[in-house]
Amino acid sequence: MKASRGNLLMLALVLIFLLGPFLVVFLSAFSSGETLAFPPPGYSWRWIGFVFTVAAFQSSFVVSLGVAVIATLLSLLLGIPVAYALSRYRVPGAELIRTALTTPLIIPGIVVGLGLLRYFITLYNVPVYTGLIVGHTALLIPYAVRVVSASLGNLRVDIEDAAYTLGATRLQVFGRVVLPNIRGAVISASILAFITSFNQVPVSLFLTGPGVSTLPIQMLSYMEYTFDPSIAALSTVLVVFTMLIVLGAERLLGITRYV
């Protein structure tokens, strides 16, 4: 059946509604004006260049990057064993474990942040950086478990049994047989986790402190006082940054698939 004209028209409208705003941000980013106006009075690279020189953006970018990388690695280290255990062994209470580990997806991020602030960070005087990593890691574990579980479900257990029969140890089986087969899922989970952490606002809202802020939180506080095109410029830079990561990983996946 071919798509009807009415349906195609609706699709076009939806695409304009979803993507049009990005065009507005892109064009504003290259404005030559002092204040934010659309359409811009002229075009230049000045604001794109400017955002790289703002110290608060530089330092918060480093924090965001650090938190995202560490939280992603931690969530994979904690999540992959769970996915493996749940798919390969009969675990009593497996459903309960699954539910417990997916609660971070159900609880609103702002509640998570406030809970951590009140009952962990202030209580034990935890440094801001650690608090952010801990909060983000809890949030990312469900992604790691879910994506890797799906991939393990498709992997036949026979090949692991075969490796055991041939004398491989548990670690060897995991490292040489299981891991290469779920590599795609592990990469997908890492990208998903990284981006979720890097763009995270609600969880970080109460967890940033004096001097240590993540980039999205820094952007929000910058917007409270200044209304110039720099946030549009920074948004554009970030869109390009995320696209490079996603495309790069896609490329990496595409290559490994054929190796």
């Binding site: 609706m10 509604f17 705003p21 904690l78 749940l86 609660t103 406030l114 809970g115 257990v157 869109v239």
Partner: protein
């Protein structure tokens, strides 16, 4: 063999993640939520009645529900035809289209909401058009209104509905729609009697994601609603940062959680009910 054997070693694999989530997530969140069930050290629901007695709080709650419901319904209405169009596109375009829809989900919510600040501001394009056409002498206040928050959330959450419906429609068995057509059903009947019942699971998933997303989206509510048009999330933030009222914050947290859980349950029930009809 491997799969069916209960193995004590499996706990070694499970324990680190479970302990982590328990210590750094479940425990602090539970402690926070429990705060709202105490009045002067005694267990009770007094904080909730006090919260809902305040007219401002009630207003915020009803507004949050209203915006989230409207966004869920409208995105479903708009996305069904759009998703149908995507599924019927030739193969190569379909992949591209899916990528285009998913991409916004990977982008920072601030970047995704920012355009509306530009468009809806006093000197923004929408106001230029309105005053240009002579519809109003003065620029209108479009930002920090319920409409602005609604538009922003709709744009933010629509990809979730669209992707859910696309995958539901892709899984539609073979040519049921053409079959219904050739047996004399009109387009509306095909949708109502065949497509909708067979894709309602996708609709429930999409609806759950959109509704929950709207109720818990902080950035859009903060940027487009400001302190004038508060939603539950922004109210919670304000209670903590402006008033240091942690009890109220904890009450809002419980209200947020219960609301999303109830909405998810309700959507699931509606999904099932339509199936039996």
């Amino acid at each position: 063999m491997l799969a069916t054997r209960p193995n004590p070693r499996s706990w070694l694999l499970l324990a680190p993640a479970l302990l982590f989530v328990l210590a750094f997530f479940l425990a602090p969140v539970t402690a926070l939520l429990l705060e709202s069930f105490k009045v002067d050290g005694v267990w009770g629901l007094g904080q909730f009645t006090r919260f809902f007695q305040d007219e401002l709080n009630r207003e915020v709650y009803v507004r949050t529900l209203r915006i989230a419901t409207a966004a869920t319904v409208l995105s479903a209405v708009v996305c069904y035809p759009a998703a149908q169009a995507i599924v019927r596109l030739p193969g190569k375009y379909r992949g591209l289209m899916t990528a285009i829809i998913i991409l916004p989900l990977m982008v920072n919510p601030i970047a995704r909401t920012y355009a509306w600040l530009v468009l809806l501001g006093r000197t923004g394009m929408v106001n230029d058009v309105i005053t240009g056409l002579g519809l109003s002498q003065e620029p209108l206040r479009l930002l920090y209104t319920e409409g602005a928050v609604f538009i922003g959330l709709l744009q933010l959450m629509m990809p979730l509905m669209l992707t859910s419906l696309v995958s539901a429609l892709e899984n539609l068995p073979g040519d049921v729609q053409s079959a219904a057509r050739s047996l004399g059903a009109n387009a509306w009947q095909v949708f109502w009697r065949v497509t909708l019942p067979l894709t309602r699971e996708g609709l429930v998933v999409g609806g759950t994601l959109v509704f929950t997303g709207c109720v818990t989206a902080y950035v859009t509510a903060a940027l487009l609603g400001g302190p004038r048009v508060l939603l539950l999330e922004t109210l919670l933030y304000q209670k903590v940062n402006v008033g240091s009222d942690y009890v109220a914050a904890s009450v809002i947290a419980v209200v947020l959680l219960v609301t999303t859980l109830l909405a998810n349950q309700l959507l699931r029930v509606i999904g099932r009910a339509r199936g039996q009809a």
